[in-house]
Structure formats: structure tokens, C-alpha cells
């Protein structure tokens, strides 16, 4: 460890070029050399989420391999249960809670090696968790869309579970960011999901129609567009705020 006098800086007596703070100069050079330059996606996420920390958490979620694999397995497992439970609203209403709990477990104290460190940081852990849930569903939904393009077998799971859940989670995150409350965001997400499920059941008399028919895709897209609009509106740059 480099220990210098007077608060960690060289004194003029130590420094031939008296008055030049070599530590400060070197820190500036090192900062430029070592800094990780965020890509366009991370910069956009930081602006939308109003937080470089949340953006980094969002982008690094898939790189934490074991929690990521477990989260993905949970999401697909719940998706399979949902497919089996077609026509049973209770299964549909509980499914998001089960999936979110699975992601929370995967990125929780048991499996996230740096959980204790994260828990001592200022960024609220519930916001980080919400961000991770969005990342898990969004990436898997993107994968599902690609798989659906290749094979019709993945269509039901993708459009019946992954895409709508990604939209609902994005809505929850948007509300959480706008209101600065993860609890408010989660409540909004749950409310949106309940409305989607119950309204679909009421309209058609059977729940399966809401996720297996092409006509149901349009409402999902509308929900997704609304989420995007809320995110853009709620996170628009304002004077005086970084």
C-alpha cells in the first residue's frame, strides 16, 4: 500500500518538482487508463433510470452467472407451469410473484457473493432487485422472440408469458423510478398484471384466449408502449438534476 505523508500526498520536500502533486497527477492518468467506458445501452439506461448505479446493475445482471442461470430456470419453470395452468386464474395471478421471488432468491444473500456489500450501499436493494427482474425477463423475452422466429413452438411461452411479464416489470420499474419508491413500482406492476389477467378472463370467458390468440398481442404492445412512454416522461432530464 502506498502510504504518503500529510493525508496521502507527497510534500514538496519529497518532490523534486516542488509544488507538483504527483499523486493527483497520477490518479488523473490512472483514472483515464482504467476507467470503463459505458456503452450506449448503459448510458441510455443511466439517463432513463436516473442512476448510473441502477444502469450498471441492469447491465451486469446477466454477467453474474450462477444467479442468472437460476433466475432464467425459475422464469422458464414458472412459464411452463403457467402453460399447464391455462384457464386457472389463480395460477396466473400467482405466477409473477413466484418468478420475482425466484429472482430475489437467486440474487439474494444465499447466492450473490457480494450481497452483504451491496446491502450496505446507498442504492436501495429493492430498486436493484426490480432492475434485475426487468433484466431477467427482458433478456429472456428477447431470446424468446428469436426462438419464436425460428420455431412456432416457442411462441406461446414467449407471447403468453415472457413478453407480457417483461412489459409489466418495465412498468413497475418506470413507476418506481418516477416515484422513487420500489414498493410503489411493485404495486403498479402487480395491479397491471391483475388487470390484464382479470379483464382478459372477463372479456373472453377463458383465460387462455388472452395469451394464445393473436388479438391479445396488441394490448401487450400497448402496455409496453405505455411503459416506455412513462419511463421517457418520468425520467426526462430536468434542470438542476444530474
Amino acid at each position: 500500500m502506498s502510504i504518503h505523508n500529510e493525508g496521502g500526498r507527497f510534500s514538496p520536500a519529497d518532490d523534486p518538482a516542488a509544488g507538483v502533486d504527483l499523486d493527483r497527477v497520477w490518479a488523473g492518468v490512472a483514472a483515464e487508463v482504467w476507467r470503463r467506458r459505458p456503452g450506449p445501452a448503459e448510458r441510455a439506461a443511466a439517463r432513463l433510470l436516473r442512476s448510473p448505479g441502477l444502469a450498471r446493475a441492469l447491465l451486469t445482471t446477466p454477467s453474474l452467472l450462477l444467479p442468472w442461470l437460476i433466475s432464467t430456470a425459475v422464469v422458464f419453470g414458472v412459464g411452463a407451469l403457467v402453460s399447464l395452468g391455462q384457464g386457472q386464474p389463480l395460477v396466473w395471478l400467482l405466477a409473477p410473484a413466484v418468478a420475482a421471488t425466484g429472482v430475489a432468491f437467486a440474487y439474494g444473500p444465499g447466492l450473490d457473493p457480494a450481497w452483504e456489500l451491496s446491502a450496505s450501499c446507498a442504492l436501495p436493494d429493492r430498486m436493484v432487485l426490480l432492475t434485475r427482474v426487468v433484466a431477467v425477463f427482458a433478456v429472456n423475452a428477447a431470446g424468446g422472440l428469436l426462438a419464436s422466429a425460428a420455431s412456432g413452438a416457442a411462441t406461446a411461452l414467449t407471447f403468453g408469458w415472457l413478453v407480457p411479464m417483461a412489459a409489466v416489470c418495465a412498468l413497475a420499474l418506470a413507476v418506481a423510478v418516477a416515484l422513487r419508491s420500489a414498493l410503489a413500482g411493485a404495486s403498479a406492476g402487480i395491479a397491471a398484471w391483475v388487470i390484464v389477467v382479470l379483464s382478459a378472463q372477463t372479456a373472453s370467458g377463458q383465460l387462455t384466449a388472452s395469451v394464445t390468440t393473436v388479438s391479445a398481442y396488441l394490448p401487450y404492445l400497448v402496455v409496453a408502449a405505455c411503459c416506455a412512454a412513462i419511463v421517457i416522461y418520468g425520467t426526462r432530464p430536468r434542470k438542476g438534476l444530474q
Partner: protein
Amino acid sequence: MRDTRRSFGKNKAVDGVDLQLGTGVFGLLGPNGAGKTSLLRMLATVLPPSSGEIRLLGRDPRGAGARREIRRRLGYLPQNLGYYPSFTVAEFIEYFALLKEMPSAAVPRAVAAAVERVDLGAKARAKLRTLSGGMLRRVGIAQAIVNDPDLLLLDEPTAGLDPEQRVQFRALMRILGERATVIVSTHLVEDVGAACAEVALMSDGKIVFRGTPGELTARGEGHGVGDAPLERGYSAVLSAARSGAVTAS
């Protein structure tokens, strides 16, 4: 902290601790299971107390807003530092700087300064999976100090460091203690003697001694157990606490 307690089932990890600290380096000594780590985790706002009152940096951490403000000014090195093997040293420290909500423009320079302070400049771009245990400990110290904290909590910071690095680390603690409250939990008595202005000794969840290292040394006069004077003081106080003769704080 006032009458702070923390229980896990029937086990009282922290049993009625009163503590008030200002700037400087404060050593927390005690045998394994004495309650040091639980105490530090409560101070780090990771573990809520079962009862009692805690105020940190003038704020009550029970409130979400206050807790967030405390955490911005907090540095914490847990006993078991978990890390992400695929991250580089600089990425890991930067990640936690961002989670601490440091202004993003200040992060690169702060990361560079923290890396240099723990002498890991040559390894800044190395993956964490390639580092030795001592180097990982220094990474942990770097992430703890990256935000220039007002309250720095270090749980066994010198574990895995070689003697030269421990000497340098003690000097770093002394520098940090000039303007921040630094609490160091350790079972290495010599670290406390060299770096701490004040020390507390815990046993069975209670603080059984509080004073300067010199005062702890004085308690060991005439006591036979221990190679160094401070170790004899440590053993003497612990023996007295276990026999119920002394509960001084």
C-alpha cells in the same frame, strides 16, 4: 449506540452495548463469537438490532431516507468479502462506487486513488479470480474507502495480508482516522496497538473493556498468558470477564 441488542434465536450475539465514538481509529477486539461482526453489521445498517437505539452520523438508520444518506457516507469491509470473479479490480471498485451513489463524474478518479492507496495499480485490470487472498482483501479495503467515507467499518481487514502490507495498512488507517471514524474489528492484538487510539474488548456480546491500548496493556501486568504486553492485557481482561470479576466498559 444505546443498549443495543441483537439475538439469533436464543443466542445473544450483542447484549446491551453502549458506544459513542468520534473521529479516530477505534479497535474492536475479542475472541471468535464475541459479537464483533454482529456489532459491525448493525453499524453497517445491514443487520437491524433486536432492540436498542443506534444513531450513525447524526441520523437514525431506521428511516429509509436517513439510512440512504448514512450509506452514502459509509465504507464497509465485511468479514467474508464476496466478489464477482469475472470483474476486474477497477470494475469491482467502480461498481460499488456507483452503488454508493457517488457522482458518476467523480468515480474514475476516486477508483484510481483507492486502487493506488492499496497498492494494486499493477493489478487494476486483472480479473478478481486471478488474485491471491491478500490482494482480494486489499480490493475489499479499496472499495470501502473509494467514497472517502466518514464512517469506515473494517471487519478483519488484515486477514491474509503479509507483515509488510499490515504495517502499511496500519499507516493508512491512521491517515483515514484523522478525519473519519474508523472502526476496526480484529483478533490481531498488535494491529490495535499500532493503529488505534482507543480500543474495546468484547466478550459474550458485551463490551468488557474500553480504553486506550496503554490502559489495556496495564491490565496485563502480572498476568502470565500472552507473549506481548498488550496480549497479556487482553488475556487478563478476558479471564476476568469470564470469571465474572470485571465488567468494565
